[in-house]
């Protein structure tokens, strides 16, 4: 166990130096061309916000089901099959048919080439599950139909979220899918998450609808309240134009009224629609509705045909900027709720780094002094191994650009405390062996050999705990498991290569001395 070939000695030294260089490059800048990686600081250390958003898919599902009913009606009418008594209860569409058509309807709905109930060969499932009871049919989203619907609404939402976050311009945001209805947004270094939170919390569904003068509208009417809560208005359900037709929006100053307004321009289809509606509706009030609230309802004085317009409504410059941003980025398919938020201010992050480094330094110093007190020369060897262990650990974290969190720093300190265990096991074993064996080289060799299985056993158990934490844990705790796990590997390396190498050099040189350890 004590013999080292020249090649091995050189590779251990080179390996240690390279990783120490990686570790030190975090603090001192050398040549960026050679190695420019850094350990990432977690949100709890550099400050920033962690937001977990959940899509509320219920409105989307209801919307899709309503559209499905219209589609079913149209489709079967073309086939000249009579369906009646359509209803939507909860998430179930139900309808009836005549007795002699039952077979036909079943065939159409369960056909693999069905146009109204799409079949997904990969999942071996239709979009809807069909249940029939006599002539009564009920349709429900199948499991995969629902998964696909949620996935597509998540894909849309994540795109919109990304646009909104990018527009605000934070540095290196991290936006990720979580499951099929959640979005994780990490915003490092963000001082005040309130603005982003309120931007992400808005669906930004913009519509233009006429305020109805009489209650008899062919499309029906709805009662909406004004944004400022001052009053309500009866609005026609007919949507003249929606935010989809917007190509640009920006805050501007209206030179006549000296008000901040949001001016927008429309695409060609939108401009046409808008022109037609405003020509027929001169004199009417046009409500501008955002997420079910009326922002303002100006009167149409003349047809607007140029494809651009303005939204007024008591804006400050900030709120006009935000509205323009929301309109540019588009509407979310469904409302998002912030179900988890963790925000750390930058000064607390710095405090945590300082406290972490201080406790690492003190812990390290105490362990080093204790080892020298206990083992003298061999304590020094164990300490050298410990120092290189620390460099290796930080070097590996740097190489993989791992994220260091506050619990992660605790993991490093804990590694320092536990790393000496392996050397202690070996040294204690050697002490026992020297009682019966006078030749120190043989005793040292036996000490290393006999303690090996114990050391492996002991470290594998901790490694198991670290692995489970890594896969089950989240955020900062994950950072802890990474440093703990990597720390075990570097500990084994520093004990079996660095400490053993130093021990063998020392023992061979001092083999004639009495009582080496």
């Amino acid at each position: 166990m004590l013999y080292f070939s020249k090649l091995r000695i050189i590779s251990v030294i080179v390996f240690t130096i390279i990783f120490s260089y990686f570790a030190i490059s975090n603090f001192v800048k050398f040549d960026d061309n050679f190695f420019s990686k850094n350990i990432n600081l977690g949100l709890d250390l550099q400050g920033g916000s962690y937001l977990l958003l959940e899509i509320d898919n219920r409105p989307v599902i209801t919307q899709k089901l309503q559209a499905k009913i219209i589609e079913l009606k149209r489709y079967f009418k073309e086939k000249q099959i009579t369906l009646k008594n359509f209803s939507l209860k909860g998430d179930t569409i139900s309808f009836e048919t005549t007795d002699n058509e039952i077979e036909n309807v079943i065939n159409i709905l369960n056909d693999k080439d069905s146009d109204v109930n799409t079949y997904y060969p990969t999942y071996k499932s239709h979009e809807f599950d069909v249940l029939e009871d006599g002539n009564l049919f009920s349709l429900n989203y199948s499991r995969y139909g629902l998964v696909l619907l949620k996935n597509s609404s998540l894909d849309q939402a994540i795109e919109i979220v990304r646009r909104r976050v990018d527009e605000v311009g934070t540095n290196e945001p991290n936006i990720l899918k979580r499951g099929n209805d959640r979005i994780l947004v990490e915003l490092p270094g963000l001082d005040d998450p309130n603005r982003i939170k309120s931007l992400l919390g808005k669906t930004a569904n913009l519509t233009f609808q006429f305020i109805s003068q009489n209650n008899e509208e062919s499309f029906g009417t709805e009662k909406l309240s004004f944004e400022d809560g001052s009053r309500d208005a009866i609005v026609s359900k007919r949507i003249i134009l929606s935010g989809d037709n917007l190509v640009d929006a920006k805050p501007t100053m209206n030179s006549q009224t000296n008000e901040t307004v949001v001016s927008f321009s429309l695409d060609r289809v939108g401009a046409k629609k808008f022109g037609k509606a405003t020509s027929t509706g001169v004199g009417k009030q046009l409500a501008i509705v955002l997420d079910g609230k009326i922002i303002s309802a100006p009167s149409v004085r003349e047809p607007i045909i140029g494809g651009s317009g303005q939204i007024s409504g008591d804006f400050t410059f900030q709120s006009a900027t935000d509205l323009a941003l929301l309109l540019r980025s588009g509407a979310l398919p469904a409302p998002l709720n912030i179900i988890e938020e963790r925000t750390v201010g930058p000064d607390l992050g710095q405090d945590s780094i300082d406290a972490g480094i201080l406790s690492l330094f003190i812990g390290f110093l105490l362990v080093i002094l204790f080892m020298i007190y206990k083992y003298r020369a061999f304590g020094l060897i164990a300490n050298l191994a410990l120092v290189s262990n620390l460099f290796l650990l930080i070097g590996i974290l740097t190489l993989f650009e791992a994220t260091l969190t506050l619990p992660g720093i605790a993991g490093i300190i804990l590694t320092v405390g536990m790393a000496v265990d392996a050397n202690v096991l070996i040294f204690e074993r050697i002490k026992e062996e020297t009682k019966n064996e006078k030749n120190p080289i043989i005793a040292f060799d036996a000490g290393y050999t006999k303690s090996r299985t114990t050391i492996l056993d002991a470290n594998i158990t901790t490694l198991i705990a670290a692995f489970i934490l890594f896969f089950m844990g989240s955020g900062p705790v994950k950072g802890f498991s990474v440093t703990l796990g990597v720390g075990i590997l570097t500990t084994l390396f520093s004990v079996y290569f660095i400490a053993r190498l130093l021990t063998s050099l020392y023992v061979v040189k001092n083999k004639d001395k009495e009582q080496l350890l």
Binding site: D44, L52, E54, N194, K197, S198, G201, K202, I338, I339, E340, E341, R342, T343, G345, D347, L348, S352, G356, S359, L360, G363, F364, L366, V367, F370, M371, L406, P407, I409, A410, I413, L414, G417, M418, V420, D421, V424, L425, E428, E432, T453, T454, D457, A458, N459, T461, T462, I464, A465, A466, I468, L469, M472, G473, S474, G475, V477, S481, L484
Partner: protein, 297 residues
């Protein structure tokens, strides 16, 4: 090598452990754990006031006026730092935190929100579930590992020792109403690893000695093994505790609970390797035949 008769006190310490476990279980069942916002849901705000005359009751009063459910206010390190926790968590209102900050500024002057954690009920129950799964999974993995490496009598001893450590550590958290959050789960998992580590070192020696001495009874054999590994046990616990106390004292308020749980775990883990794991080997009457038979299979 030391020669302490640990085995003379097996029975006494077993009774003590049993009492501690029963007390812990009674507290865990009837008083329960003080879950933080991670597991209970709600909002946590760490705030720093600029006005030094602000005290806990003043801050509590201003929060109570906001209708946020059960509010708790504690000092957090510095004189001007406080930690406020309340039940309400409003995911539909993105202005929720902003409004609180505004109201607070008008009632007690300028405050800086250094940390905000806001966890919805769905997320908190998921976090609790995954925490419990993680701990159970690690216990199962340890059991499996030690079952492969040792004979079943040893596995039972090691697992009972771990249960002992985890139950008593959580019991102490229950008795003193210390907060259980995500980092405590990490601490418990590390305790599981550490306790196992400690037990395995002594068990390895017991097994080695079983092969060496065929005529020594397990009662004395465990004592020999404990003594042979004692200096390692002490040195490793001391260095680990040195590191942990350094985190506890200098690592900042956020790591206090984590390091406290670890300190308790290391102390009980070291104790249980000697006084739980080994007496079990004695009770199960492990002998040379136990390992010889296994090795023949």
């Amino acid at each position: 090598m030391s020669n302490i008769s640990f085995n003379k006190f097996y029975r006494k310490f077993n009774i003590l452990s049993l009492i501690l476990i029963v007390i812990s279980l009674v507290f865990l069942i009837f008083k329960g754990l003080n879950y933080g916002v991670d597991f209970k849901g709600g909002t946590l705000i760490e705030l720093r006031t600029t006005d030094k005359t602000n005290n806990i009751s003043l801050i509590r009063d201003s929060f109570n006026q906001m209708n946020l459910g059960d509010v708790s206010v504690k000092k957090f390190g510095n004189e001007t730092d406080f930690i406020v926790k309340f039940e309400k968590q409003n995911s539909n209102d993105p202005e929720f935190i902003k409004n609180i900050q505004n109201k607070l500024s008008s009632s007690i002057g300028n405050v800086d929100f250094r940390r905000v954690e806001n966890v919805g009920p769905k997320v908190s129950s998921e976090l609790l579930k995954s925490g419990i799964i993680a701990i159970s999974l690690s216990l199962a993995a340890m059991l499996l590992y030690i079952w492969i490496r040792f004979e079943w009598q040893f596995s039972l001893g090691a697992i009972l020792a771990i249960f002992h450590d985890v139950i008593i550590t959580l019991g102490i958290f229950s008795i003193f109403s210390l907060e259980i959050n995500l980092s405590i789960v990490a601490a418990v998992l590390t305790i599981v690893g550490y306790s196992m580590n400690d037990t395995v070192v002594i068990f390895d020696r017991v097994r080695e000695n079983l092969r060496k001495y065929s005529d020594v009874k397990i009662f004395d054999l465990t004592n020999i093994s404990i003594n042979e590994t004692l200096s390692r046990t002490i040195i490793t616990s001391v260095t680990t505790l040195l590191a942990l106390f350094s985190i506890y004292l200098f690592g900042g308020e956020i790591l206090k609970g984590f390091s406290l749980a670890m300190i308790l775990g290391v102390i009980f883990g070291t104790y249980s390797s000697i006084y739980i794991a080994n007496p079990i080997l004695v009770a199960l009457n492990v002998s040379q035949r136990t390992i010889v038979k296994e090795e023949k299979d």
